[in-house]
């Protein structure tokens, strides 16, 4: 069952294989250009990476605002309770 199908397939494959070969060369020349495009794409993706640290920084600023607002009150509290500070 397997052997007759194999011989037929081989006979046919050699003829289109030769003509496709020249087209393949043209495609091969275009490959570096395509590769360049891919590297440029990955470069663009890396620019979007710092999104996370920006979010954390905003969070820090909100807390800092609260701390600055409380600073004077906390200073007075510490000064007025020197026995426990």
């Amino acid at each position: 069952m397997i052997s007759p199908e194999l011989t037929r397939a081989r006979g046919l494959a050699t003829i289109p294989g030769m003509t496709v070969g020249r087209r393949m060369v043209r495609w091969a020349r275009a490959l570096p250009v395509a590769a360049l495009g891919v590297t440029m794409l990955t470069g663009c993706i890396s620019v979007t990476a710092p999104d996370k640290p920006i979010v954390i920084e905003l969070n820090v600023n909100i807390r800092q605002e609260v701390i600055y607002r409380l600073a004077a009150d906390a200073e007075n509290t510490v000064e007025a309770n020197k026995d426990i500070f």
């Binding site: 820090v60 807390r63 800092q64 609260v66 701390i67 600055y68 607002r69 409380l70 600073a71 009150d73 906390a74 200073e75 509290t77 510490v78 007025a80 309770n81 020197k82 026995d83 426990i84 500070f85």
Partner: protein, 136 residues
């Protein structure tokens, strides 16, 4: 029993808050532990034990911390708008660390215990600037 002890504790706390704000002195055991570097100021606004401490040192530290917590909670609610206990405690921690004297211990932002030198202490980046105190 519970309510009676609570009333006594509240009265004792109120009397310390009212009667001795200006010239209050640290408990001698607390002062000695501070000077010896056995206790240090933590970033969260509370006192911490540096290394291993005995039961008596533990008692001194928890006594101070209970009083601090009551104070923080009261001041945090009094703020307008009110803030959380943790936010107020962290702010007080910034100030308490800034007020440590050379030789005393404090907790650096990385969590390690540091000995205060004459140089400014390593504090959380959110802490208010140290120059503020001198400028006012």
């Amino acid at each position: 029993m519970n309510t009676v002890s609570k009333i006594i504790a509240a009265a004792a706390l109120a009397s310390t808050l009212v009667s001795a704000p200006a010239f209050a002195q640290r408990d001698p055991a607390y002062q000695a532990a501070r000077a010896a570097g056995q206790v240090g100021e933590k970033m969260d606004g509370y006192l911490g034990i540096v290394g291993g401490g005995g039961a008596s040192l533990q008692a001194v530290v928890s006594d101070v911390n209970i009083k601090r917590r009551a104070l923080y909670s009261q001041r945090a609610q009094a703020a307008s708008p009110p803030v959380t206990l943790e936010e107020y405690a962290l702010t007080a921690g910034c100030i308490a660390i800034a007020k440590t004297e050379p030789g005393e211990k404090y907790q650096a932002p990385d969590g390690s215990w540091q000995t205060r030198t004459s140089a400014p202490p390593m504090r959380d980046s959110r802490c208010p600037a140290l120059q503020q105190k001198n400028a006012q």
